[in-house]
């Protein structure tokens, strides 16, 4: 019932310490690839903390991310608020949005949830654009800070490490155990006394919290914020793919998925810029038909076979 050992935590800590030195050696193109990778680690890990055990596929990442980035930009650009204050506020708006979505949809079947989150970012983008065009005028939102790629990288690393720590704590808690039971059989979960709706909403709220936080951190990178860009639905799908490719059954699964995927994605974007969507589709099918439990699932299967042969 308790998952996650101190060894696991130690390994992650060592990896994080190692990752923290990256900006000292990398810069330019490679640093920017690392920033993107770190962003996916934070997003995909928090995504799979919720979706891994519950099997609810959330496509709301872009909504949270966009909300974080857009609100931070609005606060800084229109109300002259400092970056850090806005960064402290935006995660909570993400959490509130997640709570509302969760309360409306999580008591229903998984299909409703997917569909609802699928269009959510699109709808928010629509609304924000409409409000901007009609009431605010088409002024741009500027996020001007002194933070460079390396600062953004370190901030994202801190978030990713926090997500890990939280996930590790949840895995060791009653909440983590209850999620595994919910994932196994929700009827059983209710009949042993688990409040399934609350457990799911709590986890979904953490996803929203970190999604908005990461969106806020990334805002200085774009410096000019536009709804069509921060609410891009592609992000939601990329996060799903990374988490599932690595394997959402384990906390460290998405971490395994990020590195190969980020490299592949960069290559495809560079050499076949018009075929990115096709590529995403193919990866989806590969996951469903060949890696249903991700790379981690395959690894564990192989280990199991080796153990049995002995």
């Amino acid at each position: 019932m308790i998952r996650g050992s101190f060894t696991e935590l130690l390994i992650i800590a060592v990896l994080a310490a190692f990752a923290a030195t990256v900006p000292l050696v990398a810069n330019g193109y490679w640093l920017s690839v690392c920033v993107t990778g770190m962003m996916y680690i934070a997003l995909a890990t928090s995504w799979s903390m919720f979706s891994g055990p519950t099997h609810y596929i959330s496509l709301a990442t872009a909504a949270f991310f966009g909300l974080g980035g857009y609100l931070l930009a609005t606060g800084m650009s229109d109300y002259q608020q400092p970056f850090w204050l806005m960064l402290a506020i935006v995660p909570f708006t993400g959490a509130v949005l997640a709570a509302l979505i969760g309360l409306a949809t999580l008591r229903l079947s998984g299909v409703y949830f997917v569909i609802f989150t699928l269009g959510l970012a699109e709808m928010i983008r629509n609304l924000v654009s409409w409000i901007q065009n009609n009431f605010l005028g088409s002024r741009g939102l500027y996020v001007l800070t002194d933070y460079t790629e390396r600062h953004i990288y370190w901030m994202l690393l801190a978030v990713a490490a926090t997500v890990y720590m939280l996930g590790w704590l949840i895995n060791r808690s009653r909440l983590g155990f209850s999620l595994r039971i919910i994932g196994g059989d929700e009827t059983v979960a209710r009949h042993v006394g688990i409040n399934t709706a609350t457990a799911k909403v709590i986890l979904f709220i953490t996803t929203g919290f970190f999604g908005a936080l990461v969106g806020g951190i990334l805002a200085p990178r774009y410096s000019y914020i536009e709804p069509n860009q921060v609410f891009s639905p592609q992000l939601s799908f990329l996060v799903v793919i990374i988490a599932l490719l690595g394997g959402s059954g384990r906390l460290w699964g998405p971490l395994v998925g990020v590195i190969p995927f980020t490299i592949l994605w960069e290559l495809v974007q560079t050499y076949f810029p018009n075929q990115t969507t096709l590529f995403l589709g193919v990866v989806f099918l590969v996951i469903v038909y060949f890696l249903p439990h991700g790379v981690v699932g395959r690894l564990e299967q192989a280990l199991e076979q080796v153990r049995k042969r002995r």
Partner: protein
């Protein structure tokens, strides 16, 4: 007269036009074993599902120790001390045997965690004569052991009342004997149990009282000998006797 532990009052359940349970009332007293019997489709499992909160009654009330539980969510009822097993065994495939069992102790009526929950689970595994490694994957169990895991899970919550939905169904003769003996030891511990059962031998030897259902309604109530001799009960079972 002893105060009723669980009281079912004029409970009706409709699924669209179909009346699955029709104005059913009965009491279960402390330390009593009640059997709910009746032909297939007579509404027994529906009644059990309403007691455990899987369904909400369309009309009527169910109360546990004078506190109303009907209409409450399954998790609330479980925490109030109602434990159950399922007609078709429901185990959690990704979890070990111990994890399956301990779920009852962690979230149930007594919310335990860590070593103490584990101890309870191990004790209950022993209690139901489950002689397998606690760390075994759940998928490698025999049918009766799967049923034992479910029973142990329900017992872990230290329930005030235990609902067994055809727990003895599908067992071979040797297993059946062991199963009846096991439930008998639970009865001797002074537990309050409601059984939905088809196995007449088990009903005779275990139940203090029986409620017979046909087409959703109660057609007889009394001791097993009484109800099984009742002409109306025999009529309800005719054509169903080859079971």
């Amino acid at each position: 007269m002893a105060r009723a532990k669980l009281r079912v009052e004029r409970v009706t359940k409709r699924f669209g036009g179909l009346v699955a349970v029709d104005g059913l009332s009965f009491d279960v007293n402390e330390r009593e074993v009640l059997g709910i019997i009746g032909p297939n489709g007579s509404g027994k499992t529906t009644m059990l599902n309403m007691m455990s909160g899987a369904f909400k009654p369309t009309e009527g009330f169910i109360s546990l120790s004078d506190r109303q539980i009907s209409g409450k969510a399954a998790q609330t009822i479980a925490r109030a001390g109602v434990g159950r097993t399922f007609q078709l065994v429901r185990l959690l495939p990704g979890l070990t045997v111990l994890e399956n069992v301990v779920a009852g102790a962690v979230f149930g009526h007594r919310r335990q965690w860590g070593q103490s929950a584990k101890m309870v689970a191990l004790r209950m595994m022993e209690r139901v004569n489950l002689n397998i490694s606690p760390n075994a994957p759940i998928t490698e169990l025999t049918y009766i052991d799967q049923k034992r895991v479910e029973l142990a899970r329900a017992l872990c919550g230290e329930p005030n009342i235990l609902l067994l939905d055809e727990w003895l169904a599908g067992l071979n003769p040797t297993e059946l004997e062991a199963g009846i003996d096991l439930i008998k030891t639970l009865q001797e511990e002074g537990r309050t149990i409601i059984l939905v059962e088809h196995v007449m031998g088990a009903i005779r030897s275990l139940c203090d009282k029986c409620v017979v259902m046909a087409s959703g309604a109660k057609i007889a109530e009394g001791s097993p000998e009484q109800v099984l001799a009742d002409p109306e009960v025999i009529r309800a079972y005719l054509g169903d006797e080859d079971e």
